[in-house]
Subunit: 450 residues, 2 copies
Amino acid sequence: MIEVLRDGTPEAARQIDKLLSRSEGSERVAGDVEAILRAVRKGGDSALLRYTKRFDGVSLSAGELVVSEAELADAARQVPAEISRALREAHGRIEKFHKNQVEKGFEVRSEGIRLGMRVSAVERAGVYVPGGTAAYPSSVLMNIVPARVAGVPDITVVTPPSPQGIRPEVLLAAQIAGAHRVVRAGGAQAVAALAYGTETVPRVDKIVGPGNIWVATAKRLVFGQVDIDMIAGPSEVLIIADTTADPAWVAADMLAQAEHDPMAAAVCIATDVKLGAAIAVEVEQQLGELPRKSIAGKSIRKYGTILVAQTVERAADIANGIAPEHLELFVEKPRALLPSIRNAGAVFLGQYTTESLGDYAAGPNHVLPTGGAARFSSPLGVYDFVKRTSIVEASRKGFEKIAPVVEALALAEGLDGHALAVTRRLGRRGTAASPATKSGATREKKGKSD
Amino acid sequence: MIEVLRDGTPEAARQIDKLLSRSEGSERVAGDVEAILRAVRKGGDSALLRYTKRFDGVSLSAGELVVSEAELADAARQVPAEISRALREAHGRIEKFHKNQVEKGFEVRSEGIRLGMRVSAVERAGVYVPGGTAAYPSSVLMNIVPARVAGVPDITVVTPPSPQGIRPEVLLAAQIAGAHRVVRAGGAQAVAALAYGTETVPRVDKIVGPGNIWVATAKRLVFGQVDIDMIAGPSEVLIIADTTADPAWVAADMLAQAEHDPMAAAVCIATDVKLGAAIAVEVEQQLGELPRKSIAGKSIRKYGTILVAQTVERAADIANGIAPEHLELFVEKPRALLPSIRNAGAVFLGQYTTESLGDYAAGPNHVLPTGGAARFSSPLGVYDFVKRTSIVEASRKGFEKIAPVVEALALAEGLDGHALAVTRRLGRRGTAASPATKSGATREKKGKSD
């Protein structure tokens, strides 16, 4: 059973440190992944097909890489009506929420200078969808919708083939969300195909989506050549509960997190030691009833945490230090506590807002920063699929107005060429030697700290 | 002299490939940088001071790490009045532009569900300012202003000390822009101090600012623990010029780029072969007059490029493939060409809008995506110093409305624990075994492509 720890004790501090240091190393596969990336970059489709045969045990021709229209239609028919309806309803809600994230850019003018920021979608995006039991249609929606809402004109889904075929729910979700093609490829080889392009797979500008260590390492290595989303760490929930909380409901939410993965973390900060104890009992009891009790049990044993804090404000402080992916405010007045929350991926307010709502259908994205990254990262959103471009236009008058400032600063920095580009346009040709050029020699310095 | 290449020839294609593959490897210093990171993480101030002595040749006590108020005031007095005025004017324009980037977040309500996106500044930011001749006060402004406008409450500047002291212009720019402290530390050790915190240097959530290979490698290695800006590659300009362009002005702008760095690239796509030839002559001639001709000459010899394309539209196509950091539209009707530009960090329209304006004072940020990253990255901006948080609140009614969708999808994905968190709140306790649990065994699969 989870031990209830008191805030301020060394045991509590050690447990928080343990929560913050969950991670999987990627070093052990980096060499293999590099080799795969190089091979696909050079060999294109034929390398991609070779790895697909080797790792997924499926022999395909280049013509079979892209899932055909007929197969997509077939898949749609295979999905039970209830699931199909649920996917469409969830899609509608997710799309509606994300439309609020669309940015417009701006243009301002002043004294002969016209300045703007243009916001435009990236030209192509790639979405990785894991195979096997981790092929979640909800993740397909969550990764494609923000790209579509951003206006990305070309979206490629990659997902590993298996002898049983791709799950029909995944193919249906990809269609509902508006992917432009689904490619039967997975692992580092699929990431390579998206990053560099092959004869069949167009090179993309951004790759998103969860994956195993091979996929995560490949994304890390192609970053720079192409943009990527965050490398997702193990999932986590932190629940702040006061005495109004039903221990059974809190426990159910902790177990919903724990069933994801043995590395997942379910944490509760209760304001009362009896409440904490009651939650611990409920967790133990409900765990026995859970189909995925083997996975959830491992997570609960290692990372399941119940802390007791004096007040909800103190609980919020602890939460800010952890910066959890999911934060449930299971308290009497959740809105009153919200301003104290500074770091969290998504906040769920009140007893009816179980995290599951957000995982599937409330509307916000379920791809969230993990492992403390909520200090500086955001949920996946429309903003991840756009780029901004600065637009500058100076008339002669506008140019003349700021020319002296530009010349002064360029010369102060010893960049005479920058100043000269201005000077020439002013009709002067002289090269005013800059102070930095005159005295610069003594400043010239090469060293590790430059 | 730069050879004028015709679009469509193998020589032109090879030159574009060469431009796109400029980069510096970081592998050679990674081991040393890792050791520095570990030492500062463990040793704090004392490790930081030890490396400062070793690499910068300056012995400091912990009490001298932060530049004092008296020194800051001294520095402000040392800067010539003209430079000080120019810095303040530039700061005002940069701040005004960036204020347009402030995002508000949103809240929407529908049928018992209240959803929101909160936008809040990160709590602490760190700005790296290089030492020696690369200590550009304009970069200090460009890196601090977006953080301040975002509302970051604590901004630390780090810059390597030298026996001559920190440039007064840098200290003045940091004050004007509103940094909260300036720390005398540079290199990988300063990045480590920002990422992990020391007794004197607060741990930050985001590190920005340019630096040499040690700094860039350190940023890459601490990424995840803390957010970083893009790793800046060598700078580049692409100028599209039609026959209305003055070859001398085009050449001056190319040289302003080339003087940055031997790895910098100055590229012109001209619509006329005679124009291209005239620009080549001007580049050669003006190069001889440039104080930094040694640096600019190296850049021009290796990466200086003049291409001839049939039309400005074709030139725009080539530019989109290169996705340049800076793009000048030195053509008769720049506004008409703008919609054809899809990938560029900043676009400068018309003959008076030399890139230097944007480097110093027009208002937009001069920290821009390099090396083709403009396909998917943006100029440094206010959006780089904020994080978004999703807010979800369901009433009982709102919960009941979407509960069936959530249960259906959770069960379809085999995540019964997720469904149970909903079921319990509906007052039911039964564990509806999910279809995936029933049939899931055959799908279970471990492999490289999962």
